[in-house]
């Protein structure tokens, strides 16, 4: 039952959603709206499952003996608890603990974490980005034109640079991306069809 039923559900719902696209009749819309609701509710639970897994993982470490890792797992659990209690019971608007922690802990740290990349880009530019063949040369030249063309200095060097950047973005780069999109669209249609027909079962775990 736990093997056959999911395949049957996939087939039934997949087919309904596919056909519904072509049918404007209200009878199909009502069921359609209900299904959209259901999916969002179940999906919200699945997100909570992910969070639970993480909590479980760190709860094990926090209660274990690994003195090196323990304090960090305890930090995670503390963070979760404080934020959860604050958000669920004491409001989320301005002036609340939840809002303060979001503004002064979560947001700045997350943004800083990503800004580390600007440093890594700089060192990789010197040590890693190599024009090792003609393809890489094309890539780097396009990159440099775009980088110059999108800043004021590019315009100062030559008025052709921003124009060249515009052209690259609107013509060859755009068209190549379109080719990729069409390929991805076909790939998605093929995968979706396999899911609906029940021949793609990787999501069920194991083949």
């Amino acid at each position: 039952m736990h093997r056959k039923l999911p395949l049957l559900i996939c087939f039934a719902l997949g087919t309904f959603m596919l056909v519904q696209f072509f049918v404007p009749h209200k009878a199909s819309t009502a069921l359609y709206e209900a299904i959209l609701d259901w999916v969002q509710i179940i999906y919200a639970f699945s997100l909570l499952v992910g969070a639970m897994m993480l909590i479980k993982h760190h709860a094990v470490i926090a209660s274990g003996r690994d003195a090196k890792e323990r304090p960090f797992s305890i930090l995670i659990l503390m963070g979760i608890t404080v934020m959860l209690v604050a958000g669920l019971f004491f409001g989320r608007g301005e002036g609340t603990v939840f809002h303060w922690l979001f503004q002064n802990v979560q947001a700045p740290m997350q943004a800083t974490m990503f800004s580390l990349l600007s440093f890594f880009v700089a060192s990789a530019a010197y040590r890693g980005f190599r024009a090792r063949n003609s393809q890489a040369i094309f890539l780097l030249v396009a990159a440099i034109i775009v980088m110059l063309g999108r800043i004021p200095v590019g315009e100062i060097i030559s008025s052709y640079i921003p124009k060249a950047a515009d052209w690259i973005l609107n013509v060859p780069s755009m068209a190549a991306r379109r080719g990729i999109y069409i390929g991805i669209a076909l790939g998605t249609i093929a995968t979706s069809l396999r899911v609906i027909l029940g021949i793609e079962r990787t999501y069920l775990g194991g083949k």
């Binding site: 959209l36 608007g93 301005e94 700089a122 060192s123 780097l140 440099i144 991306r177």
Partner: protein, 276 residues
């Protein structure tokens, strides 16, 4: 032993580049030059479209990003929000990623108060919905069914700003402030299926992936990255942090280009030496 020394050198060299990078960005922030900015056609299209909307048209701001890209997302959202509030458009906020919810609510209230707008009368924040495909589709049927209450938990039908708003047919444009693929989902599921106008305000990383939809007319325009925000700030005549950051952006681009050129020269020279 020799190898170990080399590693140490490598790490030190890397630190040297890090420090230079910090200086290259920090110095122009402190000592501003004010290099002239060129406004691109893509950003002008966004501005022109919003500018031509009749007053009280409804727009959705969907905050489809996480906090990691705030330095790019907030200036973009601010500039576009200022324009919409100044034009007296009805602004509805929502988020398809959880972290966008707190950011969006905050932005709407902050910029709304700059223009004396009232929550619930001029603008409203609906909140967060997971599973973006189904959320985008559901808004095409009935908005008050998808969001029965706003972010603060009050009945959505109790707000006067919701009057006459049923689904996408009452929405002039969706502005998706996104740092990932979600703007593409808006195109696939809202633009194609319901004919909604989509305006992507995205991180620079996502810019190149928007062009195919821009050329095909599936997008109204494109405002990308801090540079896009700076251009928009110029267009609405309210230069802010994005404009102030553009000197630093210029400096850092030149620095990275120089590093690439020097790095490659060193490699070619090294190869020649080995060749002999």
């Amino acid at each position: 032993m020799g190898q170990n020394d080399k590693n140490k050198m490598g790490i030190q060299g890397r630190h040297f580049i890090f420090i230079l990078m910090a200086i290259v960005v920090a110095a122009p922030l402190i000592f501003r030059v004010g290099l002239p900015l060129r406004v691109t056609a893509e950003v002008r299209q966004v501005y022109g479209f919003l500018d031509r909307l009749p007053p009280h048209s409804a727009v959705i701001f969907s905050f489809d990003h996480e906090t990691s890209t705030l330095p790019e997302m907030v200036p973009l959202a601010e500039a576009l929000l200022r324009h919409c509030f100044r034009k007296n458009l009805k602004v509805f906020g929502m988020a398809l990623l959880a972290e966008g919810a707190a950011v969006g609510d905050d932005n709407l209230r902050r910029i709304g108060s700059e223009y004396d707008k009232k929550y619930g009368e001029d603008y409203l924040f609906w909140g967060f919905r997971p599973q973006f495909t189904t959320a985008i589709l559901a808004l095409g049927e009935r908005i008050d069914h998808e969001f029965p209450s706003d972010y603060t938990g009050q009945d959505i039908r109790s707000f006067p700003v919701m009057e006459g708003i049923e689904n996408y047919k009452d929405i002039a444009a969706v502005i998706t402030v996104g740092d990932g693929d979600i703007p593409v989902y808006w195109v696939n599921y809202a633009q194609a299926r319901y004919g909604v106008k989509i305006i992507p305000a995205v991180t620079a990383v996502m810019a190149t992936t928007m062009y195919p939809f821009l050329q095909s007319g599936q997008l109204v325009g494109l405002a990308a990255g801090l540079k896009g925000a700076a251009e928009y700030e110029m267009l609405i005549g309210k230069p802010g942090r994005a404009v102030k950051g553009m000197d630093a952006q210029s400096g850092a681009h030149i620095f990275v280009i120089i590093l690439i050129l020097v790095g490659n020269t060193v490699m070619i020279a090294g190869r020649r030496r080995k060749g002999r």
